[in-house]
């Protein structure tokens, strides 16, 4: 504690250099935090999966729709407990590029039989089934838009731009997964959407669906049941690929593998950059303090005192940078989401901050090695001969 004053004074000896170093660290840490939080979007936990949850898509491409008639055929397959379908509608809302929330059109009659991870009341499910233009929204979306039951909202579809639906909010639903609780999401009746694309795009579209979801029973036979489902449509022009949701999610993630890998590498490189920035500053400190360390040794300071002084200075700068950088992650993510409307799922995870602090302690230790070694290994006589 007695040396704390000297550590702090030393750290700001070259004020501009220290401030620039801290800013460099903080900005890099903020970038690291944003990248790590973006990567969180592409990760999912097996614990969040519904047992026996299968998903069916067109065998050729995820982008191709499937016939609605497949649902009835799948219901006949042994081991298929429930069947439902969905469409991705997009995120854009209105003409304002900064207004967006995620939307899906879903099978209003059957979704709740499978999607136990969407929590809603029986009353809201009933309203969703009976009100012909019903929509459910998450509390986060209701809060953001100040929407409530009975409000009629006009929503569109990102990839069928002529489609426009006037939906009535009949209730709310919530994601069971903690990490999705803040998602701004809307569920629209599937039949309403199918009718709209039938009218606006082409009549046959009314009889198609984006994907199909199934519930396998027993869940541990899900893979065999998936094979059974796919065999139904083998050699047809609408062949399917059915797989457990985790495999499907992995396949989705795989589409972005190159980007994910690049982001992961970038995040590790950022730690390297942080280390280099601090190392550069501490190397200058090592060079500048040779004479002064010799003076301190002459006064009776021992190696351990010089270790404390140099390590303390490195750690002090690293931790200020870490705290500032960590504090900037949250506003950084807000800004990032404003700039990247399609990555609204990105949100601030405390784990990133938990990550940053120990990482910066390690960086602080490593960066202090140069001055510590220099300070302890240089003899007093050699140190005193060195001009500052």
């Amino acid at each position: 504690m007695k040396l704390l004053k000297l550590i702090v004074k030393n750290a700001f000896r070259h004020r501009l250099r220290t401030i620039l170093t801290i800013l460099g660290l903080a900005i890099t840490i903020m970038s690291f935090g944003i990248v790590r939080n973006v990567l969180e979007v592409f990760s999912f936990s097996e614990d969040d999966l519904i047992p026996g949850h299968l998903i069916t898509r067109h065998k050729t491409s995820m982008m191709q729709f499937l016939p609605y008639s497949h649902l009835d055929k799948m219901r006949q397959v042994e081991g298929v407990e429930a069947v439902t379908y969905g469409f991705w509608m997009g995120v854009r809302y209105g003409d304002d590029p900064e207004e967006f929330f995620a939307r899906m059109a879903i099978d209003q009659d059957n979704f709740y039989k499978i999607r136990s991870d969407w929590i809603t009341s029986e009353e809201d499910i009933e309203d969703f089934k009976t009100v012909k233009n019903a929509a459910l929204i998450t509390p986060a979306l209701a809060l953001k838009k100040d929407w409530e039951e009975g409000d009629v909202i006009t929503v569109g579809c990102d990839y069928f731009e002529t489609v426009s639906l006037d939906v009535e909010i009949v209730g709310q639903f919530e994601f069971a997964q903690e990490q999705n609780r803040q998602a701004e999401f809307m569920l629209v009746r599937g039949d309403l959407f199918r009718r709209a694309i039938g009218q606006e795009v082409s009549p046959e579209m009314e009889h198609q669906v984006g994907w199909i979801e199934l519930l396998a029973d027993p869940p541990d036979e899900a893979t065999e049941i998936a094979t059974r489902v796919d065999s139904l449509f083998m050699n047809s022009d609408m062949e399917t690929k059915t797989e457990p949701v985790n495999a499907y999610a992995n396949a989705q993630v795989e589409r972005f593998r190159t980007i994910i890998t690049a982001l992961q590498v970038s995040s590790y490189l950022m730690i390297g950059v942080i280390l280099l920035v601090l190392l550069n500053t501490m190397s200058m400190v090592a060079r500048e303090r040779i004479n002064e360390n010799a003076v301190l040794k002459t006064l009776g300071f021992r190696g351990k005192h010089l270790v404390i002084l140099n390590f303390g200075e490195s750690m002090f700068v690293a931790l200020i940078g870490a705290v500032l950088g960590a504090a900037l992650i949250w506003p950084g993510i807000k800004l990032f989401k404003t700039l990247m409307p399609f990555l609204q799922q990105v949100k601030f995870e405390w784990i990133t901050v938990v990550w940053v602090i120990p990482a910066m302690i390690i960086v602080g230790i490593l960066a202090s090695l140069v001055p510590v070694i220099k300070a302890t290994n240089t003899s007093i006589v050699d140190g005193l001969r060195t001009l500052e």
Partner: protein, 224 residues
Amino acid sequence: MAGYIVNITNLYKEYIRDDMRIPVLYDINLDVPTGEFLALMGPSGSGKTTLLNLIAGIDRPTKGDLSVAGESVANLTEGQLAQWRANHIGFIFQFYNLIPVLTAFDNVELPLLLTSLSKRERREHVETALSIVGLADRMNHYPRQLSGGQEQRVAIARALVTDPSILLADEPTGDLDRQSAEAIMTLLGRLNSEFNKTIIMVTHDPRAAESAKVVRHLDKGELT
């Protein structure tokens, strides 16, 4: 030996630079009584600073015996030597070597941070030391706000503050104008006469050496 604070017998020092042995001191024998004010004079390269460094325990002899304040310093480990320096040596540098980011008070307090003194006790010691050198009113000034002579007086206060057994000064007036140099020599003389501090001073300034009680000359590594 009783009454002597420094005993040097057959001391030899050489440096090795690029595989070459460079002898600096030859067969030095020197006894300094407690309370002495000794000036070591000699031309550049005569080995006077090396001898001072050896007495200060910041360098080690190649051969010979060296005892300072009752301790054979050559036999101490680095850690013991640092502790010994903190207890017994007050060192005054030619270029003051104050820490620029610390005030005069903080600079003088530095050696006391290694002791178990309380904050209040440290403050009392620092204020006393700064009063002795006549800078009680400048304790909150930074080195850049002081003249060269004042900086050297702060450095002397720093050397004094732990009440060391011996004060070692390496060209203490070498960087000062004549007036400031005289003030510093007067101060060192007072410390010797009033506070009975043993002082060994390296200088090549005959005026500075006049303040010392004893003057010894070094020439090409030998005491004459």
